[in-house]
């Protein structure tokens, strides 16, 4: 029985929006499937890993019968990707099998009953709700997501803290060595609330956000967060844990302060990094009035040295860092100029944007 006819992209685009979270191997076989549901003119796609659930719909009105089925997300995606982009795709369903035809190609796929597909229960009313443009949220996430921990035993660091208070929304991430903070004003009067978004949710959300002024609505529920934008809805569980108090680690009395061109600093570090120790990635910064030197050596005793002119007249300092922690912040910030504030060689450094309190990056040194 023919159930759907559509141009390839009308199916592939929404499918790709949901399949990013599908686990390759899962104990529950149906979780490697995508749920496709046609109701009236709309075709919806849904995938989940039981922590995150993404739904989206095709924006084109598509003719055909109403149906619900699940089939392998990966195989369907691979097939649709492999056929020509303007090809017309037809879907037929018979005896629990799905047949996809395009031109002279024909694929017969297994399905599993849609009733068996696990859906995340939606938890009641929201503690806080607000919206901002997709571009703005994307910018905020870009400034902090690189500092999230990866597989840390302190599981609450493997994610991003989202705080709301009044008209402020703050995002904070840390892996215990460095911490990134970004904040923005929204048009709302929000209660004081905070949740930790899992790392996977953050990365998936970031991938799906468009550089557009279209809004995204964010709702903080009991132990879930819901993001709605366009026809897409992401529901994610939140991490149950206590995020460290970031205010405690912001250094307030760093007195060795100067401005630096972000791109100049970035390029100098990138060159020096070629000879940084491959395992420890150490870099030494040597500060003196008027100049900062960047020094890297590797295990073969090779050396790189860069010198940057800076408007600095304070005392001398030599301090070591993991060069990746510096490259991360310089790569991900859109600002032209940064302010750097150092204390001594064993205390954290503070990176900010001049005349802007919406971004902070704190990084601990490395003893080299």
């Amino acid at each position: 029985m023919l159930i759907l006819q559509a141009e390839r992209d009308a199916l592939l685009k929404p499918l790709l929006a949901v399949t990013g979270i599908v686990e390759r191997r899962h104990t529950l076989p149906i979780l490697s499937n995508v749920l496709i549901e046609k109701k009236g003119a709309e075709v919806g796609f849904l995938a989940t890993d039981l922590e995150i659930q993404i739904t989206t719909a095709s924006t084109d009105a598509l003719p055909g019968e109403d149906f619900r089925l699940t089939t392998s997300a990966k195989k369907l995606q691979d097939i649709l990707r492999a056929i020509p982009d303007k090809a017309t795709v037809t879907l037929e369903q018979q005896d629990g099998r799905l047949t996809l035809k395009a031109g002279k190609s024909r694929f017969n796929l297994q399905t599993l009953p849609a009733e068996d597909f696990p859906l995340l229960p939606v938890n009641g009313t929201s503690d806080a709700a607000f919206s901002l443009s997709q571009r703005e949220l994307k910018r905020l996430i870009a400034q902090v997501q690189y500092a999230m921990a990866v597989q840390d035993i302190r599981y609450y660091l493997n994610g991003l803290l989202m705080q709301t208070e009044g008209n402020q929304v703050r995002l904070i991430s840390t892996d215990g060595h460095r911490l990134a903070f970004s904040s923005a004003e929204v048009e709302a009067n929000l209660p004081k609330a905070e949740v930790i978004l899992p790392r996977k949710t953050v990365l998936e959300l970031y991938k799906l956000l468009a550089d557009s002024d279209d809004p995204i609505n964010i709702e903080v529920l009991a132990n879930q967060v819901r993001f709605s934008f366009g026809t897409t809805v992401i529901i994610s569980k939140v991490v149950d844990g206590k995020f460290p108090d970031y205010n405690r680690v912001i250094p307030l009395d760093n007195d060795k302060i100067f401005l630096i061109e972000r791109v100049t600093f970035l390029h100098a570090l990138q060159r020096a990094a070629i000879l940084a120790n491959e395992k420890f990635r150490g870099v030494r910064l040597v500060l003196k009035p008027g100049a900062m030197s960047i020094l890297c050596t590797n295990s073969e005793q090779e050396e790189a040295e860069e010198e940057l002119e800076i408007g600095y007249s304070g005392g001398g300092l030599e301090i070591g860092f993991n060069i990746n922690y510096l490259l991360d912040v310089l790569t991900n910030l859109p600002a032209d100029t940064l302010q750097l504030a150092f204390g001594d060689g064993s205390r954290s450094a503070l990176f900010t944007i001049p005349d802007n309190s919406d971004f902070k990056y704190i990084v601990m040194p490395m003893r080299i």
Binding site: G176, H177, S299, G320, M366, I368
Partner: protein, 375 residues
């Protein structure tokens, strides 16, 4: 956190040797280890403990396990890795003394020096145990048998304890042979004897075949390596997974592994295959404290090296396995329990083997130290 099929053996990972040199046609490998090393050192230093059942290990009231015991204790069925409490049930007059690693290490250094007088190609396996490749060495007119004898004599004279050795053309056979005339003995397997020796070798003597696998083989009618030879490579692969390939070779007395001199220990771990599969997560968590105690004991023996991560390994009833690891340098039982829970969730079926371990920190890590934001 993917399964890494290359990480089947959780025990001592070794650095790959990129320059695999051509193997000489007939190598001379000695596997040597001291007889109940820790217990022997204790009996040497306290002669009153000779002749009575003696074990070195943890206290029975604190989940301690036996590290080593002497031959008198073994007659009661006591063996290493057994809980001290169980050992005392088997032999109430067993004397359990706490390990004194400093003394063992001192003896170990001197033993390794003796090994070094005969070859530079030494692969230490523990404080007292090592493979020595003596191919082409000039000592004792080139006789590996005489070299093994000489080494054992010197250990007796200079250290005051006994050792046993196996001499064979490869590591597998040398290891099996060193057990043959234990304690205080040695056995040679000459190239022309390999075929008959291996054919008659009970599978339980093959390193890597534990009690559970041996039992399974018995049900398949496999008692000796000779029986094992009747099975094709494909059948063995089907039955035993990747281990099947190695079994196929071992059954023919083949083992091409080199004595690797530059082996770097990258992890320390312990594992246990259970006679009956653990049915659920609760059973796994219940088995955890004993494993952790053994791991602590083994870490202590290695001098409590700094580590950078912890690992849990689970092999399920269907022989699939998974490892879960996390970064961290603290030995916290709760963290292991958490990993075990995550690992179990991947299989949701009975578990036949559990392993716990730590990944050792690279040595240089102490030179460059990243300071933490939060204390």
């Amino acid at each position: 956190m993917e399964d890494d099929p290359g990480r089947r053996r959780l025990h001592f990972h070794r650095s790959p040797n990129p320059l695999c040199t051509q193997m000489p046609a007939d190598r001379k490998i000695i596997h040597i280890d001291c007889d109940c090393f820790y217990a022997s050192i204790e009996m040497r230093d306290t002669p009153a403990w000779r002749g009575i059942p003696l074990a070195v290990g943890g206290r029975p009231d604190s989940r301690g396990v036996i590290a080593t015991c002497n031959y008198e204790a073994r007659q009661f069925g006591i063996h290493s890795a057994m809980s001290s409490r169980r050992a005392l049930t088997l032999c109430p007059r067993l004397l359990i003394v706490p390990p004194d690693m400093a003394r063992y290490r001192e003896a170990s250094n001197r033993i390794m020096q003796i090994y070094g007088d005969y070859t530079s190609r030494i692969e230490p396996l523990s404080l007292d145990e090592a493979y020595l490749d003596v191919t082409g060495q000039p000592h004792c007119r080139g006789s590996a048998t005489l070299m093994a004898k000489a080494i054992r004599d010197r250990i007796r004279q200079e250290i005051g304890i006994t050792a046993s050795a196996g001499i064979a053309p490869n590591k597998f056979l040398a290891k099996v042979a060193s057990d043959w005339n234990k304690p205080d003995g040695q056995k040679v397997i000459l190239p022309h004897e390999i075929d008959a020796f291996v054919a008659a070798l009970p599978v339980g003597k093959v390193p890597g075949i534990g009690k559970v696998t041996a039992e399974r083989m018995k049900r398949m009618g496999i008692l000796t390596c000779g029986d094992l030879r009747q099975w094709s490579l494909a059948e063995l692969l089907h039955q035993f997974g990747r281990f099947g390939e190695r079994l196929h070779r071992l059954a023919r007395g083949e083992d091409e592994r080199e004595v690797s001199v530059d082996r770097v220990r990258k992890s320390v771990s312990v594992e246990e295959t259970y006679a009956t599969d653990l049915p659920d997560l609760a059973a796994c968590l219940q088995a955890l404290p004993e494993l952790l105690e053994r791991l602590r004991e083994r870490l202590g023996r290695a001098g409590n090296p700094p580590f950078r991560g912890i690992v849990c390994k689970l092999k399920f009833a269907d022989f699939t396995q998974t490892t879960v690891e996390q970064i961290g340098s603290a030995f916290d039982d709760a963290h292991f329990a958490q990993l075990m829970q995550m690992g179990f969730a991947r299989g949701e079926q009975p578990v036949r083997l559990l392993g716990v371990g730590v990944k050792l920190a690279e040595e240089e890590a102490t030179i460059a130290a990243q300071l933490p934001l939060f204390d």
